[in-house]
Each structure stands twice: as structure tokens, then as C-alpha cells.
């Protein structure tokens, strides 16, 4: 979320990802969505933690960082939350 400073404080991960999809940010969205589902199952459903899709989420964070810095958001959103 820190990588996306334009989002309102009340945004969820799903909303953040929807915005990125609409902005045509390149990522393996099937894997990223899968990682989000696994994370939510762990976070809200008590399922065991998993690292599946972690690399794809990190890759996505890097893409966003480049875009944010490229858009002149000086120093903001330079690390993934």
C-alpha cells in the first residue's frame, strides 16, 4: 500500500490490485490474485501461511515503484507494505 500513495487510506488489497489492472500494469495477475487469496485465507480464515506467489507480488511492487518514481512522487512509495 505504501507503494501506492494515491490510494485512499481505506483501500483494500483487492481494490488496489483492481486499480493496477485498470492501469494495465504488467504482472502475472493469476498468480498475484492467487497469492492474495492465500494471504486472505491466512489473515481472516486462520489457514496456514504460505509463500505461494510471493515472488510475483514482489515483482509487482517493483513495477509500481518504478511507475511512482517515474511519475515524480519523489521518495513516496519506494517500498512495498
Amino acid at each position: 500500500m505504501v507503494s501506492m500513495p494515491w490510494l485512499p487510506a481505506g483501500s483494500t488489497w483487492e481494490e488496489a490490485f483492481e486499480q493496477l489492472k485498470e492501469a494495465r500494469v504488467k504482472a502475472d495477475w493469476v498468480k498475484v490474485d492467487g497469492a492474495l487469496s492465500a494471504y486472505e485465507a491466512y489473515r481472516y480464515g486462520g489457514s496456514p501461511a504460505t509463500v505461494a506467489g510471493k515472488d510475483d507480488v514482489v515483482a509487482l511492487a517493483h513495477v509500481i515503484q518504478k511507475r511512482v518514481i517515474g511519475n515524480g512522487a519523489k521518495g513516496k512509495g519506494t517500498r512495498a507494505d
Binding site: 500500500m1 481505506g10 485465507a41 489473515r43 481472516y44
Partner: protein, 311 residues
């Protein structure tokens, strides 16, 4: 099956009503959450056809009451009639004894009738002259009202609006939907062709499973924070009630179930926040007069945009 239930309901309703997929989903969520819905919209936007189509999909008994200013509570709940044969008074059930009741133009009924219905909605039973009779299960009221009417109507007070799980605004269709509607033969709105998607027995089992969907402590804290924010919001003179927040959690459970999950996420809460809270909060008059707010639903959206969900 859970993953398909919503889609199957929408598919059946689409055969009769065009462009009301979202409303169909909301009706299903309300039914699974054991709540009642207030459909608000001008005449001719398919409120009644939608309710009738939905009842047919669900395979439950459906009755409709057209509310009028000269109605009496017994026209709806029933009353005691003298039985000449047994020389005793028998209770004759009114049209409220059904599974899905369409209360058409609820704001045309006088307050006594409205409160009799709202008591049935809250207690799932009716009492007439000390005789209490339970309503069939499931019991859901879909009430309609036209917000543009001012003559011969009795607006529902805040405490009665609070009994409705959701208020769904049915606006005019967009242009593409309007074209599709005009192309289709208007006579082709026969709800008889709608097929049953789920039996009453299956529905009862599903409703039981919905209650088992997990709501984590973080989600409960999130709901409590939203409630607190709404009560402290200066543009509102009335924030979300505790009942509103309980209703919101019930709806979120139903959405999670329909998505095939056993737990609620913040997105489930947000997806029905406007429909569940929009009619329960009240704008502060000074905020309206000073132009700080003119739409309670927008204030609800802004509260949700401000409160950080558990992530």
C-alpha cells in the same frame, strides 16, 4: 454449488428483467442473511417484476400486498373470524403468512399497518389479540416505495427504516440497457418461465451454512471502527446503529459464502456498505444547509475511504 448460486439466480432473472444483476445479487444476499429489503425507485423500473422473479427462482411461496391509505393491520396479518359450526373464533391467517412478501408501496400504508408489518419483520411472528402465530421460514419482506411521492404517503421513520437490512436504489437503466429493453417485447415479462434455482429445503441448509462463515476479530474491530466513525461524523446527526453493524456482518457472511469462502474479508463488508448503512444514517441539517453534504450514501463512502481496513 455455492459458487454458482448467484450466477444461476442472475441468469434466471435476466430472462425476464434486463440489467438488474446487481439488484438480484443483493436480494439473494439479504435472503441468506435473513433480512428484508426496501427497493426504492420511481414507477416502472421493474421493482415488482424483480421481486416476483426472485421468488420464483428461490422456489418459495410468494404473496403481494398493494398498500393503500385505507388499509387496516388485519388486512395483512389476519384476524379472528367467528366459526358458526364450532361456535368459536378461529384465527384466519392474512397474506403476511408466506415466505416472500412483496409489500408494494409501503409508504402508502398508514403507520399502524407499517408498524404491524415491521413487527413481523423483526420478530418473525405476529400477535393478534394475545394469539401469537409464527411466520413460515424463511420469511423475507421486499418492500417498495417511490421516493418522489409527497401526497398521500406516510414516510417510514428512522427506527422503522433501521429494520430493513438494505435499501436498494433502483435508478433508471443506462442507455444500452434501455435499448435492450425496448428491443425485447415488453409483453415478454412473464415470470412463469423462470425456473427454480434452489428448493426451499436446500435454501434452509444454505442459510444455516452462512451462519458458520467465520468473522475474524480484526474484521469485528474494523466494523466497530466504522460504527464509531459514523457516530462521530459531524455531517451526520445519526450514525450507524449497533443493529446496522450486525446486519452488515450478516451480509458480509452471505457474500463470502456465495464466493465460496468460509471467512469474511474487508471487501465483503465494503461491497454492501452503502446499501446497508445508507438509509440508516441521517444528514445533519446544518451540513446540508452549508453545502457540506447532500447525500448520506456519499458520506458512508467517504467514511469507508478513510478507515483503514485490516490488511
Amino acid at each position: 454449488m455455492e459458487m454458482e448460486l448467484r450466477e444461476r439466480v442472475q441468469e434466471q432473472i435476466r430472462t425476464v428483467v434486463i440489467g438488474r444483476e446487481r439488484e438480484a445479487e443483493l436480494l439473494l444476499v439479504a435472503l441468506l442473511a435473513r433480512g428484508h429489503v426496501l427497493l426504492e425507485g420511481v414507477p416502472g423500473v421493474s421493482k415488482t417484476v424483480l421481486a416476483r422473479s426472485f421468488a420464483r427462482c428461490m422456489g418459495v411461496e410468494f404473496k403481494r400486498i398493494q398498500f393503500t391509505p385505507d388499509m387496516l393491520p388485519m388486512d395483512m396479518v389476519g384476524g379472528f373470524v367467528f366459526n358458526m359450526k364450532d361456535r368459536e373464533f378461529d384465527f384466519r391467517k392474512g397474506p403476511v403468512f408466506t415466505n416472500l412478501l412483496l409489500a408494494d408501496e409501503i409508504n402508502r400504508a398508514p403507520p399502524k399497518v407499517q408498524s404491524a408489518l415491521l413487527e413481523a419483520m423483526q420478530e418473525f411472528q405476529v400477535t393478534v389479540e394475545g394469539h401469537t402465530e409464527a411466520l413460515p421460514k424463511p420469511f423475507m419482506v421486499i418492500a417498495t416505495q417511490n421516493p418522489q411521492e409527497f401526497h398521500g404517503v406516510y414516510p417510514l421513520p428512522e427506527n422503522q427504516l433501521d429494520r430493513f437490512l438494505m435499501r436498494v436504489n433502483m435508478g433508471y437503466p443506462d442507455q444500452a440497457t434501455e435499448v435492450a429493453l425496448l428491443r425485447r417485447n415488453l409483453e415478454d415479462m412473464d415470470t412463469e418461465k423462470i425456473q427454480e434455482v434452489v428448493s426451499a429445503e436446500e435454501l434452509s441448509k444454505i442459510m444455516e451454512q452462512v451462519t458458520k462463515v467465520q468473522v475474524s476479530p480484526e474484521i469485528i474491530d474494523y466494523l466497530a471502527t466504522i460504527a464509531k466513525e459514523s457516530r462521530g461524523e459531524t455531517r451526520l446527526s445519526l450514525g450507524a446503529s449497533p443493529r446496522a453493524m450486525v446486519h452488515l456482518s450478516h451480509c458480509a457472511r452471505a457474500i463470502a459464502y456465495l464466493d465460496g469462502r468460509g471467512y469474511v474479508t474487508p471487501d465483503d463488508i465494503k461491497r454492501v456498505s452503502v446499501e446497508v448503512l445508507g438509509h440508516r444514517v441521517k444528514l445533519d441539517q446544518s451540513a446540508v444547509l452549508t453545502g457540506k453534504a447532500n447525500d448520506p450514501e456519499q458520506v458512508v463512502r467517504e467514511i469507508f475511504a478513510k478507515v483503514k481496513p485490516p490488511r
